[in-house]
């Protein structure tokens, strides 16, 4: 576990995820579909703070986001796995900084999250037309990947500074 989660205010920035999901600003949408704010916040968090903290943050975010939607489809499992995976990537190898790498990781994360939701909704019978699911999946992955270099690199920079001071 890293030191980031011991800074209360860093964890509190996670509150922006449900708030942005609720507000869903129209100018950040592609074809009416909003980005996955959970992926955009969890990626830098896990990269800086490690797999354990990433998995816990993923679970917390997933629980809050599940509460914001009707139905039983859950985002928790995929967000936990993504937090753990991104934490491992951050611990092994060189620190990830390039926009392309961030965008690619966010794209993979959004695709995994979208696919899991699509399968769950399909099994529950809440997605009678799979085509609608593919449309949402592609649009959300694209807009998340496009925003990742902007949002994630700023958060990464700030949190690495914090870790540098405290660590």
């Amino acid at each position: 576990m890293g030191v980031l989660h011991r800074q209360g205010w860093c964890g509190a920035t996670g509150l922006a995820v449900p708030l942005l999901s609720l507000a869903s600003p129209a100018f950040l949408k592609i074809a009416g579909v909003a980005p996955s704010w959970a992926v955009l916040w969890l990626l830098p968090w896990a990269l800086v703070d490690g797999p354990g903290s990433g998995a816990v943050a993923g679970a917390a975010l997933g629980l809050v986001l599940d509460a914001l939607h009707s139905g039983d489809a859950s985002q928790v499992p995929v967000l936990v796995l993504l937090g753990w995976w991104w934490g491992r990537i951050g611990r092994r190898g060189a620190p990830i900084e390039r926009s392309f790498s961030l965008g690619l990781l966010a794209l993979l994360g959004a695709l995994a999250l979208g696919l899991s939701l699509m399968l769950q909704l399909f099994w529950q019978g809440a997605l009678p037309l799979p085509l609608a699911g593919w449309h949402t999946l592609v649009a959300q992955s694209l807009v998340t990947a496009l925003l990742a270099p902007l949002v994630c690199s700023l958060l990464l920079l700030r949190w690495r500074q914090v870790v540098g001071w405290r660590g």
Partner: protein
């Protein structure tokens, strides 16, 4: 001079009076044609003074007023008859609520409203917007309510096509247009027919506009299916009305 009055006028005198003959012929023409030329001439002359757009606007506004008054009267009458038939739930009221979060596209199609249990809103209540039915309340908190839109994949309501008096099922697909599934083999519905809530419905308020049949697949098995273009614009609605029980 005897016989002077009976003398036949000479021919050249008759011919000299030709303008008078012409006048008589014209008058006879007017009489025989029942005034055709005269009316045409009058129409031509009075054309600048015919009723213009101002008059038609007055008439239209009068018509609108009369329609509105009739609508109110008929609704009141309808309400009374439904109460006599005990089809209506007593004490229905409309609560206006602001839309505080909107997600018309994506994995879920839902709205969050800024009023909840404290204002009498409960799960299952119908949510209306200018244009017609938007969806139903799925869950409430003391100050908010979550509305599942008709387009959501989990939305299923019974509807009514008034022109052919057919019941059907409206199933959300997760896209902008829900699917209309008929219960009978030959519903006789065609694109352009208006879809409303069932007049016999007790779950939803009766006779609310939902949308218009856009396409129809007659070959679908086991019964014909169609797509419905909803009439209430979800993206533009800031305030909605909840029909509470």
């Amino acid at each position: 001079m005897p016989g002077r009055w009976f003398r036949v006028p000479t021919l050249h005198k008759i011919a000299a009076a030709w303008p008078w003959w012409l006048l008589v012929a014209a008058l006879l023409g007017v009489r025989l044609s029942k005034g055709a030329f005269l009316l045409d001439a009058y129409a031509l002359l009075s054309r600048p003074f015919w009723p213009g757009s101002a008059q038609s606007e007055w008439l239209r506004s009068g018509q609108r007023l009369s329609d509105q008054a009739r609508l109110v009267e008929l609704e009141r009458d309808n309400q009374r008859l439904r109460q006599m038939l005990q089809l209506d739930r007593a004490g229905q009221t409309l609560v206006s609520a602001p839309v505080i979060s909107r997600e018309p596209a994506g994995w879920w199609q839902q709205l969050e409203l800024g009023k909840g249990r404290r204002d009498g809103i409960a799960a299952g209540d119908a949510v209306l917007a200018p244009g017609g039915l938007l969806g139903r309340v799925a869950s409430t908190t003391p100050t908010t309510a979550r509305v599942v839109l008709l387009t959501d994949g989990s939305s299923r309501i019974g509807v009514w096509v008034g022109r052919t008096q057919q019941h059907a099922l409206l199933i959300g697909l997760g896209t902008a247009r829900p699917r209309l599934v008929f219960l009978e083999k030959d519903p006789g519905v065609r694109p352009g027919d208006v879809v409303t809530t069932s007049p016999a419905s007790t779950l939803l308020p009766p006779n609310l506009t939902i949308g218009v049949v856009q396409t129809l697949d007659e070959q679908a098995v086991p019964a014909p299916e169609g797509l419905v273009q909803l009439s209430a614009p979800v993206d533009a609605v800031d305030w909605v009305q909840v029909v509470t029980r």
